[in-house]
């Protein structure tokens, strides 16, 4: 399976709908400090099933919803979608019947989040499993958040054992 597109609206500083087409090879993301680059990385982690608000750099999960600026009101809804090309039919059985998978996570302030795949509601666990089977997902070593290298360098040897468990 390939990851083709990320779409987000109302997520952190991306209040207006934003589409990121992900072409083959290496895509660079640049911009000044505080403009929203790491927020994009958070959007990938979130739609792949991240359940910890702390991993989203906040205290509550609602804090990922656009909180407003001096000119714009806060929103009450955030939504992130990830479009997968499944022509190779290489995902797990539950979702392997179509060529394209659109995975969406939506959160409403105070009401928690809901996951959909091609319009059908599914559980968080199903999404987490879908990505884990692909060697991906919010906890994967293939997703290196800002500062993660530094914290791995400073971690105790027993804390690094999880790297081997992931490869097992």
């Amino acid at each position: 399976a390939k990851v083709d597109k990320l779409r987000l609206a109302g997520f952190k500083s991306f209040t207006d709908q934003t589409d990121l087409d992900i072409g083959p090879g290496v895509t660079g993301i640049v911009g000044p400090n505080g403009c929203g680059k790491s927020n994009l990385v958070d959007a990938f982690k979130w739609v792949m099933g991240e359940s910890s608000a702390k991993q989203m750099r906040g205290d509550e999960m609602d804090e990922i919803i656009f909180g407003g600026t001096t000119n714009r009101p806060a929103r009450n809804l955030a939504e992130v979608s990830l479009v997968l090309d499944n022509n190779s039919r290489s995902v797990n059985d539950m979702f392997n019947d179509t060529n394209e998978l659109e995975i969406t996570r939506r959160i409403e302030r105070g009401k928690g989040s809901v996951y959909n795949v091609n319009g059908r509601e599914v559980r968080a666990k199903d999404i987490q499993l879908l990505f884990a089977d692909l060697g991906s997902g919010a906890k994967s070593t293939a997703l290196v958040s800002q500062g993660k290298i530094g914290s791995l360098i400073n971690s105790k040897p027993t804390e690094r054992r999880h790297l081997l468990e992931e490869a097992a």
């Binding site: 399976a1 390939k2 990851v3 500083s13 991306f14 207006d16 934003t18 589409d19 990121l20 992900i22 072409g23 083959p24 090879g25 290496v26 895509t27 660079g28 993301i29 640049v30 911009g31 000044p32 400090n33 505080g34 403009c35 929203g36 680059k37 790491s38 927020n39 994009l40 990385v41 990938f44 407003g68 600026t69 001096t70 000119n71 714009r72 997968l84 060697g135 991906s136 994967s140 070593t141 293939a142 290196v144 958040s145 800002q146 993660k148 290298i149 530094g150 791995l152 360098i153 105790k156 040897p157 027993t158 804390e159 690094r160 054992r161 790297l163 081997l164 468990e165 490869a167 097992a168």
Partner: protein, 162 residues
């Protein structure tokens, strides 16, 4: 559990030795399970010697050497079961130009050999010049992020406006 962990250790250690030599243009590195004799409780120690230096624990290397060694370890794990997408957020920050160059060589080789799509957030001019396409994130309206596709010259400018 124990058997799988030991097998994974052998595999990751083999990848790590090779990736380290590749990233540093020589030298040697190795992993070892420390402490408890039971692998399920043991710790993972990292030893490395950049070219011309003695083998020592990760902690004794310089900031940039530690970062590059850790990148080699992460890709050693990644190569066991390559994911379709890899995201790296400013991992090149502590690297000098020579090591940024080696790092860029590694990620384009990995992307070509496994077909993995790699997204890299960076401030380094050299890394920007080496990617296949560039997106800029701006906050023209304070507090509101917009994504625009840019070329290298535009990306250079973006580095400079806040």
């Amino acid at each position: 559990g124990r058997q799988r962990l030991l097998q994974s250790f052998e595999l990751v250690n083999k990848n790590f030795k090779e990736l380290f030599r590749n990233l540093f243009g020589g030298g040697k590195a190795e992993l070892s399970m420390s402490g408890d004799s039971d692998p399920l409780e043991a710790g993972l120690e990292i030893y490395a010697s950049p070219p011309g230096k003695k083998l020592q624990n990760l902690a004794l290397l310089s900031g940039g050497e530690q970062a590059l060694t850790t990148v080699a370890l992460l890709f050693a794990v990644f190569n066991v079961n390559p994911a379709p997408l890899c995201i790296l957020d400013e991992v090149d920050a502590p690297l000098d130009d020579t090591n940024v160059d080696r790092f860029c060589n590694l990620i384009s080789r990995i992307s070509q050999s496994t077909g993995t799509k790699i997204i890299i957030v960076t401030h380094h001019r050299m890394t920007m010049a080496r990617v296949d396409r560039l997106f800029g994130v701006t906050m023209a309206e304070k507090g509101v992020s917009k994504l625009v596709s840019v070329n290298l010259t535009e990306a250079e400018k973006l580095r400079d406006i806040a």
